[in-house]
């Protein structure tokens, strides 16, 4: 299968991107500055991320569509305002997660942002569940560009007047070069920022404008360190069909009335896990010293029994130390529980910790 390229590929090359294949796409892992510097400039200024490999699924319909989607997603979509977004999951009957996604209510239906590696399968699952009753468009004519970091609002507002008035997890349509673009105030870095859905033909020149205004390109490498410091899950690592939202400690994302009344796919299991608890749960893990524990590292308790496994681990440039997330047995999930990580045959001490590792101080200029 031929590797796919996004509309910004030429721009990535021009900026000396190192490419990796990700979900069938040639994507920039980093540019010449490197992951640490790209990470830091996102936290202190403004970073641009090409996330066009992600799926943008438009589903068109009215009230009955909302009712049908409520049978799928654990959300109260009836009460969701137009242009509001929610983080949720596509699950199987056993509450195993097919994908985690952002759904936004539009005038004419819904926009769902899907993970690149999952989007084609999600499309099949959703069209089956919705029995092909609604027009669905997994739109590959639109790019998706994220701009993240404290200066992003100022930079984007200078190009698209009015975006600064959006609140977190709210979007709207704006005009750009006589084309409709959809901007939401959201992201996956733990920073204030926006995601912009824009037709492919305008994506490159739009991104150049962001760069001319002071934002800089940031690769997927820094996107990973940023989201991990922010304690956010990545599909294929923290999340998968073998994990439920309750095990992933994401109960907050399920609408309260849906927890009580159920009626969505996987609701029986979710309700049971909420009342009975789960065997394992996702936690933050802070290795002592500088040791980095990567995905699949085994976690031991003090009596040398395996109690879990790391799902993501790296060096966090903003916390200046190693950070990790993983799953441990419930009884070892309490904050400050001492655990051991087996790396290269040796066991190293670590502590269970709260998430996120890095919390934004929203005071302007506080982070250097």
């Amino acid at each position: 299968m031929e590797i796919k390229k996004t509309s910004l590929n030429k721009l990535h090359q021009e900026n000396k991107a190192k490419f990796v294949e990700f979900a069938g796409y040639e994507m920039p892992i980093q540019y010449s500055k490197g992951i640490v510097e790209e990470h830091k400039l996102t936290r202190s200024h403004s970073g641009i991320f090409d996330v066009s490999h992600m799926g943008q699924l438009f589903i068109y319909g009215d009230k009955t569509l909302t009712e049908d989607l409520e049978k799928i997603f654990p959300l109260n979509l009836k009460n969701l305002n137009i242009n509001s977004s929610k983080y949720t999951f596509l699950m199987n009957e056993d509450a195993g997660i097919y994908d985690d996604l952002i759904i936004t209510k539009l005038d004419e239906g819904y926009l769902i942002i899907l993970n690149a590696a999952c989007k084609d399968n999600d499309y099949k699952i959703l069209s089956n569940l919705l029995e092909n009753k609604y027009k669905m468009n997994l739109d590959d004519k639109r790019s998706l560009i994220a701009i993240q970091g404290p200066k992003s609002v100022e930079i984007l507002d200078s190009i698209i007047n009015g975006v600064s008035e959006l609140s977190f997890m709210i979007g709207n349509w704006f005009e750009y070069e006589n084309q409709k673009i959809f901007v939401t105030r959201s992201g996956y870095t733990g920073e204030d920022g926006f995601e912009i859905s824009i037709i492919n033909d305008l994506a490159e020149e739009f991104t150049r404008k962001l760069m001319d205004s002071g934002a800089q390109l940031v690769g997927l490498g820094a996107r990973d360190t940023l989201r991990l410091e922010a304690g956010l899950c990545l599909y294929g690592h923290e999340l998968g069909v073998d994990k439920t939202p309750i095990e992933a400690n994401l109960k907050w994302a399920i609408s309260k009335d849906r927890i009580v009344n159920g009626g969505f796919i996987g609701s029986d299991k979710i309700m049971r896990q909420i009342s009975e608890g789960t065997k394992q749960i996702r936690v933050g893990i802070k290795p002592e010293g500088r040791l980095i524990a990567r995905e699949k590292t085994k976690i031991f308790n003090e009596t040398e029994l395996v109690i879990g496994e790391i799902t993501s681990g790296t060096f966090g440039p903003s916390v200046s130390g190693p950070v990790a997330m993983g799953y441990v047995e419930k009884e070892f999930s309490k904050k400050d529980t001492k655990v051991f990580l087996e790396v290269r045959g040796k066991k190293y001490p670590a502590n269970i910790c709260g998430l996120p590792f890095y919390k934004k101080s929203y005071v302007k200029g506080a982070i250097k």
Partner: protein, 126 residues
Amino acid sequence: MSEVKFSKDHEWILPDGDEATVGITKHATEMLGDIVFAELPDKGSNVEKDGTAGVVESTKAASDVYTPVSGEVLDINQIIVDDPSKINEDPEGSAWFFKLKMKDVSELESLMNKDEYDKFAKENAS
């Protein structure tokens, strides 16, 4: 014998009599990206030619560091353990990894000189 030599695993070695200083090449650091963790052999331990003698980790992945020749570890560079970013800054100078007392100086003969290594690195760039 004081010419710097290079291994196919991207280490450099600078001999001085029967002692030598070992580090990783600039090319290696460019492939690795930002180095955030370094582990060195124990002082006094014996290492075998082409055997593991440390680990470096970048934000992306972990890589073993090998020793180009056998010998006893005389000294390690604690500075790069405390601040691994120094390795990216000056890999072929102040950010050396360890010093060895070589077991067999003739092991150096199988290694590449600078021109050979530069050619090798260029062909193996990925």
